[in-house]
Amino acid sequence: MALSTDESRRMADRLRTDSADLVATWVAKAGAPLTGRLSEGELRRQITELYGVLVAALDEGMTDLSAAPGGELRAVLADLSRGRARQGFSATETAVSVFTLKDALSGRADLADPAELRDFLSFNRFIDELGLFTFSSYSAAREELIADQAEQLLELSTPVVKLWEGVVAVPLVGTLDSARAQVVMERLLQALVDTGSPYAIIDITGVPAVDTQVAQHILKTVVAARLMGAECLISGIRPQIAQTIVALGIEFGDIATKATLADALRHVLRRSAARTGGRAEPVA
């Protein structure tokens, strides 16, 4: 518990005396480390809002940030941190907006008076708690942002393109982990159903490294496509990757592999021509 009920009431009174001056000092001190990247008006609005809910919460006798009266204060702090995280401020630059309240207060407290010093110290502890909360909200917001971006990247990075009548291709770019491999597999199989294509080409030109796990993912996709009745080729195997594949002892079995996408397409076109051509031969 950071504050007693009495302390929080006394602190509310202290914050209320000469409030305009206090807020102005706070804004000035909080604005310094942001080096003009946040407009003064915006910062003043945030600080004033924070000041308002802080005084209101202290008035209600809040002893702890996690206690019930602190609900609104938590919401405002979380909002502030999320906003800063999205605007690209660092965690320090965010937390400093809260911590500068100490500076603003220390200038007006008479620290020679033991009672006042005690109050000031406990209020200091309380502000630390606010700062920590800001920190954790900030990092939560950042993690959320990263997760969102990872998901968007996943969406972006796995297009299935139609190359020819009855031929679809997936140009894989970037490292292939389990999550991506799953998305690629689902997309490809769905594309096979949607387009009714009997041929699929997986192009791995953009895959920087092929290890046993990546190979396993690709093989699974090929087998799944076969189960659905489509033939799957692998193309874009670079020399180094061919060497790695052999060195690791990865077996692609009877799956056709080609050096370039063009080779794979030629192979497929020849195969589909052979289908109709093969039928015509016994007739002629």
Binding site: Q182, M185, E186, L189, Q190, L192, V193, G196, S197, P198, K220, V223, A224, A225, R226, L227, M228, G229, A230, R275, G278, R279, A280, P282, V283, A284
Partner: protein, 136 residues
Amino acid sequence: MDRVPVLKLGDVLLVSIQVDLADKTTVQLEEDLSERIVATGARGVIIDISALDIVDSFVGRMLATIAAISRVLDAETVVVGMRPAVAITLVELGLSLHGIQTALNVERALEVLSRARDDDWIPPLDTEDDTAPAAP
């Protein structure tokens, strides 16, 4: 009791499985199908599983059995319409449906069957076939 209908389409039998199969239904289907193959002299069997959400080892074995029965009676079996999710599950389970041919849809399956037979099944080739011996 549920019964899976067996439809005749030229010299191909079409079986569309719409419900989750119970043991009895499966046995009944195997019986019906073998009788129909003999009765109609069908050369191909197409099994449509596009309505199945789940293909487990039981369904896999049923498909393998039907394929084996048909093969004995000189008919090719092609499984069509497997859903992507089903294919992924089968791969993850390590079931690869050995000895069963697959195709994306009924149309492709008909192509596969006609190619496998390598005879005058497709009408446009019929006419060519007829005119060729008539020429001399």
